[in-house]
């Protein structure tokens, strides 16, 4: 998208980093990938394989705008669309069989629609198969602007040629565990007996891996259309560009994260009672959580638990680079009874007034003096679109 938007970047190897000064590559252009630059690697590693690489800060507004346009386009083409991530979606061809001569012809229509909507430089790979797992795997391993079909006859070839680390749903840790058992491609799972698979990977993953080995949809993909009625938790994390030992900066950052979480939770008319915090720094980590007997939906209340009840009990034995906060066990506020305590009702009245101002003038238009000094961390969309229920609200 950045190359579409800024023609001077076209044809150049680009590494997308979260912000200026950051070193973790969150995306790479196709030119950079050709040179061996991988998503998730560090700039120092990328510079050794591609000295001419250019680091560009991510533009989340641009990506989110493109995702919204894609969603609108896909919904104009098919009645059955599931947005999977910022730049991936599943479109069911079944209800469209009478309208197009073949899925391949429909795929061409999608590709031309994407180019008309986002621009001619944007490429669109389409995988066609009888389930989402194989369609996604096909789209993942085929080249830019390709249309690849996987049917029952050639699926074993795909399953025996795709590295497990490129398979949707397999994280780096599980890929390493599989490699430790000599399994590098999904097809090899078929040669492991059920008992051994269960002993090595547990009751959940043994079933999921067996499905993947057969080219069947794992649970997280088959349940994609059964979206829960509301989000179960809302979290926010931030990684700084250097280790931090300043109490005031940590306090301000935690307040900032808490404000965003409560803004999202209140926008969805939810309240939660599982509060968790995790901290990383210099290769070390710490986390803690508390499950409350009542649901909370006020910034001050969540900050009280996060900062004073959880964080302050930790004596900060190492400087911090990453902070993460989460509010879980969310329930619809319509199903919960309101507290009768005067203090809670006062806080609710203040929150309702702030909600009105924020909905008109934007998040952080009204906030605590804690955030007055220093930059404000604003909401971002994530590549995997973990909070799509909130984003597409």
């Amino acid at each position: 998208m950045l190359q579409q938007e800024t023609p001077t970047l076209r044809g150049k190897p680009l590494a997308i980093v979260k912000d200026e000064g950051r070193t973790c590559i969150i995306a790479a252009s196709k030119e950079a990938k050709k040179l061996g630059v991988k998503t998730g690697s560090r700039m120092s590693e990328a510079l050794t394989v591609a000295p001419e690489i250019i680091a560009i800060p991510a533009d989340f507004d641009l990506y989110w705008s493109a995702t919204c346009k894609l969603k609108k386009l896909f919904e104009s083409l098919s009645p059955d669309v599931s947005m999977f991530s910022l730049d991936e979606a599943f479109l069911d061809y079944t209800p469209l069989r009478q309208m197009h001569s073949s899925p391949q012809e429909f795929a061409k229509l999608i590709q031309s629609g994407v180019k008309d909507t986002l621009g001619s430089w944007v490429t669109c790979s389409i995988g066609i198969s009888h389930n989402r797992f194989l369609a996604k795997m096909t789209g993942e391993v085929s080249g830019p602007d390709s249309i690849t079909t996987i049917d029952l006859e050639n699926k074993d070839l795909l399953l025996s040629q795709t590295d497990f680390k490129d398979v949707c749903g397999i994280g780096p840790r599980l890929a390493r565990r599989l490699k430790g058992h000599g399994v590098v491609v999904p097809y090899q799972i078929n040669f492991i007996p059920d008992g051994e698979l269960k002993r090595s990977f547990g009751p959940f993953w043994s079933v999921e891996l067996r499905r993947m080995g057969r080219g069947e949809e794992p649970l997280f993909l088959s349940r994609l259309k059964e979206a829960p009625s509301h989000m179960k938790s809302v979290g926010r994390s931030i990684t700084g560009w250097q280790l931090c030992n300043s109490e005031s900066v940590i306090k301000r950052t935690l307040y900032n994260l808490v404000s965003e979480i409560i803004y999202k939770v209140r926008s969805m008319n939810l309240a939660g009672r599982l509060v968790s915090i995790s901290v990383n720094g210099g290769g070390r980590s710490w986390s803690n959580h508390v499950t409350l007997k009542h649901h909370i939906c006020h910034t001050g209340e969540l900050f009280q638990y996060v900062y004073y009840d959880l964080y302050k009990k930790w004596r900060r034995p190492f400087p911090v680079i990453k902070l993460a906060v989460r509010l879980g066990l969310l329930e619809s506020r319509a199903d919960l009874s309101q507290s009768l305590l005067p203090k809670w009702q006062k806080e609710e009245r203040v929150s309702v007034a702030c909600d009105k101002l924020v909905s008109s003038y934007g998040l952080f238009a009204v906030t605590s003096g804690l955030l007055a000094r220093g930059p404000i961390i604003r909401p971002e969309v994530t590549g995997f679109l973990g909070d799509k229920q909130y984003q597409f609200m």
Partner: protein
Amino acid sequence: MYQTIHESVAVAGVYKKAEFTPKKFLWQKKIYPVDELTFVSDLRDGKTKKRRFSLVSGGNSYHLLFDRDRETWMLEEVWCD
């Protein structure tokens, strides 16, 4: 990398199929013709709606920001190598 300018500009363009396309803009008493409109992003914070036009003029890339509530134009950013 884009450098922030955040200066007011005047923009002339055409409406076609209910969409505005900038054709040229006036910045610091100089007219910049739009050679290519590369992308249009819709931004929103609260009820404030803004539309960002990414465009190319004379080989340089620019971001023009249109505040849809106040109907004002800003030259937000310019690409600098």
